[in-house]
């Protein structure tokens, strides 16, 4: 009896070991970027024939100007900045401990440099505005279009549905070039929010997804509302939209993530450095500081941490939404 419980416990901890091992594979590149972003020097964290320096302790910490003064004097309290060098004190404390060879002094310098050199907060807001705009417009267009395809009987319905589905077949790069020509020559989409929102607002996938969701609503409900004298628009707005909320949430998540991460189209559309979205801004930062990987790492951390936080807060909706989309 006891032996069996033992074996079961051993099996369970074996599973956890496996789960943690896989988690390390996903998490370590992120942690590595975070670690690089607080390094002071560009010296390799893997010195030859010595242990790797992977445990940070507080070194030169602060914001604004005056980092170099603080490095010389230990402290800087000026108008444009506020720095303290904790490095020497902490180094002394670690002296002789077993941990010491693994440690290095962490600094906030790289983050200050990113904030000074590119308007990363602005890029963040740009990305947010484009993603929110895309979500709202896509939800509106797709939920409108999917309703008659699922619930109304009219001439040409099947043909129209096929036309919508056909957009899923053609690869995106096929239309990229004419879309670009049109955006530049006709619509003047460069450096605008709507230029990033409008071209991808009507999504065949979104219409298809919501049509499946509408199908699951009983016809009797709609008939009853019709008999009560509700208009078709009223039925859609007041009865159906609240009922398909889970489907809308799924589509919203898919749209938000793909807009937030979109790179090639914004790269083609944006020339003004103030109009950049985060991915374009990151790639610009990388060109800007080519050589200083530490600064780029700080930029990556600034850009990804908010996404990770939002994702962790809504992870259930993300995962169930995608799973629901697959089940149809």
């Amino acid at each position: 009896m006891n032996a069996r419980r033992w074996r079961k416990g051993l099996g369970t901890s074996g599973w956890y070991l496996l789960l943690i091992a896989v988690m390390l594979v996903t998490a370590i590149p992120f942690l590595w970027a975070a670690l690089m972003s607080v390094r002071e020097t560009s010296a390799s964290p893997f010195p030859r024939n010595r242990p790797a320096q992977i445990v940070p302790y507080a070194g030169l910490i602060g914001w604004g100007d005056g980092a170099s003064e603080a490095r010389a004097t230990g402290e800087y309290r000026g108008e444009g900045g506020w720095w303290t060098d904790y490095g020497p004190a902490n180094r002394e404390r670690l002296e002789g401990s077993a941990l010491q060879p693994y440690t290095f002094a962490a600094t906030t310098e790289n983050y200050v440099r990113v904030a000074q050199d590119i308007p990363i907060g602005r890029y963040f807001l740009n990305s947010l505005a484009v993603a929110v705009g895309s979500v709202l417009l896509t939800l509106l267009l797709c939920s409108l279009a999917a309703y008659p395809l699922a619930k109304l009987r009219f001439k040409g319905r099947d043909v129209l549905f096929l036309i919508v589905l056909s957009t899923l077949v053609f690869p995106e790069q096929l239309i990229l070039i004419p879309l670009y020509v049109m955006a530049v020559n006709v619509f003047n989409f460069q450096d605008s929010y709507h230029g990033l929102i409008l071209p991808f607002a009507a999504s065949g996938l979104g219409i298809f997804l919501l049509r499946q969701v509408y199908y699951s609503i009983p016809n009797e409900l709609i008939e009853a509302a019709r008999i009560d004298g509700a208009t078709e628009f009223g039925i859609w707005w007041r009865i159906l939209l609240p009922l398909i909320r889970p489907g809308l949430a799924t589509l919203a998540i898919i749209t938000f993530v793909s807009s937030w991460n979109n790179f090639l189209w914004p790269l083609l559309m944006l020339t003004d450095t103030n109009a950049f979205t985060l991915p374009v801004g990151l790639s610009y930062l990388r060109g800007f500081f080519s050589g200083s990987l530490r600064t780029v790492a700080a930029g990556i951390v600034i850009a990804t941490v908010p996404v990770i936080v939002v994702f962790m807060a809504f992870q259930r909706q993300f995962i169930q939404g995608l799973a629901g989309a697959v089940k149809g």
Binding site: L19, R153, P171, M182, N261, L264, P279, Q315, A323
Partner: protein
């Protein structure tokens, strides 16, 4: 452009009520559909027609000159184009790896253990982070003084840093590794949806019959999630064929030393937006899209999920 319903004004007095009702429904339906159809017409079907026209012209974004099939003739003889198509198909090796690893991972996280939602979320996380940020993170991982070289050196496996992003033989495999790393959690969630709809009794019955857990998965799980295997296969192979962001970042926008990272998608980008050969790039787009469509159709055929 938007197909309008039959005349909204009914013939005077004659139409039977049912006919009028039907016509009204049709009008309503088209009103609901009109905005989305207008967007699709302008931003999808119009460009679709244009790209075919462009592919027969010499076009530099401002003036188009009809040249007939010259672009296609040049394309057939362009060694770089065929090289890029070959690279794109090499990239497809990512697909089977993704299917096997994400299905395996889905089976693992389908176990009812405490804290499992947390692990699922952690595995899924790379899917919500932009490919640009991930490309840059892996630049830090692949660098000479980066994580991978550091670990290999600490283990004593190498003496000099492995030039993951400089050696022409390693560029594409390294970038594919990033694509796989990024996709596993995403497709895992898709498989998870399928796994959770398999009745538990099937496994219990198999266990009574003495089937080993591995056998159970091979004979029960795999056939049950077959439609999702096809779906993941199609989605991930299309994603692999159009991969761009990771390649752009990890080759610094150049396509890699000696064109080592030059996939068809990247070649298209280079011809259109670096060299301004819009007509020629359009021909690439048309041919490569045809290749993708045929490939996907074959995929679906083999997978056999044709709706019946």
């Amino acid at each position: 452009m938007i197909p309008r319903a039959a005349p909204t004004v009914a013939a005077p007095g004659a139409a039977p009520p049912s006919g009028r009702q039907e016509r009204r429904t049709t009008v309503t339906a088209y009103l609901f559909l009109a905005p989305a159809l207008a967007f699709l017409a302008v931003f999808f079907f119009l460009p679709l027609a244009q790209v075919i026209y462009y592919s027969f012209t010499d076009f530099n974004l401002y003036a188009a000159e009809w040249v007939g099939p010259a672009n296609y003739q040049a394309l057939v003889q362009d060694p770089l184009f065929w090289l890029s198509v070959r690279k794109s198909f090499v990239y497809l090796i990512a697909t089977p790896i993704l299917i096997v690893s994400s299905l395996t991972l889905a089976i693992i996280v389908n176990r009812p253990l405490r804290g499992m939602p947390f692990f699922r979320a952690m595995y899924f996380m790379p899917a919500v982070i932009s490919a640009v940020a991930i490309g840059m993170i892996f630049e830090l991982v692949f660098a000479d003084q980066g994580l991978l070289n550091g670990i290999l050196r600490q283990l004593g496996l190498i003496d000099r840093a492995v030039p993951f992003l400089q050696d022409p033989a390693l560029v594409l495999p390294s970038i594919m590794g990033v694509t796989i790393w990024r996709g596993v959690g995403y497709y895992m969630v898709m498989f998870l949806a399928g796994l959770q709809s398999i009745p538990k009794e099937l496994y219990e019955a198999a266990a009574i019959d003495g089937a080993h857990p591995l056998q159970q998965h091979w004979y029960i799980t795999v056939p049950s999630v077959r439609p999702i295997i096809v779906l993941v296969g199609v989605l991930s192979s299309i994603a692999a064929l159009r991969a761009f962001d990771e390649i752009f970042i990890l080759t610094s926008g150049t396509g890699g030393i000696l064109n080592s990272g030059l996939t068809a998608m990247f070649y298209l980008y280079r011809q259109a937006f670096v060299f301004n050969n819009v007509g020629y790039a359009s021909a690439i787009a048309v041919v490569f899209s045809l290749i993708i469509i045929v490939f996907t159709a074959i995929n679906l055929r083999i997978g056999g999920t044709g709706e019946r």
